[in-house]
């Protein structure tokens, strides 16, 4: 049992921590998906992962946080990605590009994210903690958008674009998770982006 493959990367401690965190999130999602948010206690979640309830709160500041996962991280990466897009590309296109970051992260764990979307749609109180509605993240995005467009962050445009594209992403995610035969998430996002870029024209009637 010599530390063979530990290498320079994160040590055993970090690994266990990530593991515990992920396990708590997954257990929480499964239980809540089964029984509903109110019918699941922190004690049960901790029990399922075999840690004390107190430890749960060392990982998450509240029950909800275990369900939404690390949205702050996703948001930060998205903002970084957005800032990295060359300034000459239009905002909407830039945002669409930046979304690829998140999209990939979602596609990396499809089942988990389906569970999450299911739980979130059934418990709207969680919605603003999710990327699409997270206000803290939005503020950061608004600033980057404002800088890109060259207007004041207090101007209506950046906030509007941010909110609308957020709605676009949420729309795509929800439809993606709801559809039985999982369509490609990027396609859904593209569709929605095209619709808003065209001014939301009414679709042809069947």
């Amino acid at each position: 049992m010599t530390p063979t493959a530990t290498g320079p990367g994160p040590g055993r401690r970090d690994r266990k921590k990530r593991q515990t965190r992920a396990a708590l999130t997954e257990a929480a999602l499964r239980l809540v998906a089964e029984r509903g948010l109110a019918q699941v206690t922190v004690e049960e979640i901790s029990e399922a992962v075999d840690v004390s309830p107190r430890t749960f709160f060392n990982y998450f500041s509240c029950k909800d946080d275990a369900l939404v996962g690390d949205q702050a991280g996703h948001a930060a990466r998205l903002v970084a990605r957005l800032a990295a897009v060359p300034p000459e590309v239009p905002v909407l296109a830039a945002l669409r590009t930046a979304f690829d970051e998140v999209i990939d992260e979602i596609r990396a764990e499809p089942e988990l994210w389906c569970l999450r979307m299911d739980v979130v749609t059934r418990n709207p109180a969680l919605l603003p903690r999710l990327l699409a509605g997270n206000t803290e993240a939005e503020r950061a995005i608004v600033e980057v958008v404002a800088a890109r467009v060259g207007v004041d962050p207090g101007h209506a445009y950046p906030a509007l674009v941010t909110a609308v594209t957020g709605a676009v992403l949420r729309n795509a995610m929800t439809r993606w998770a709801a559809h039985p035969d999982r369509p490609d998430l990027p396609d859904l996002v593209d569709e929605a982006f095209a619709a808003i870029a065209a001014g939301l024209p009414e679709p042809d009637r069947p």
Copy 2:
């Protein structure tokens, strides 16, 4: 003290109830605006209105509900208004018209709504309970929109339009409450609607 002006309308009981409810909401908003959500207890709110904490929970199912007010009612009226718009007028225009309902209700109590927007923006957890993000209300709107446009409620379009126009309204409300010299709310809403109808073109740089 004869019952002179009681008439057929709501009796004293109903009046007192409305009064208490409104008082609780106002007290809650004021206290939270001053000290922050976590620094205000239900006991303090009840104290301020001189009712027992238990009574507070007879009016509101949780602390947050006292802050957001009767959003379900607003949403219901909005949906009714939307359904009443002649079918030949385009969805976006119809939604814009339906929003007048809410706008008027907001303009009827400007100070209260400013407080509320302040509190909500400072406590994003409240956001989805507000009209603009309320998921239960959204579902109803999505259905009416779907019917108007003549597509399935599961189609992407109704949900997208609903979410986007919700963002529009929220955007306008936030800007309205934030601005020191309160601009006309309908104007702000019109601006935002125009922007999305035009496909969110980037504004001219100053």
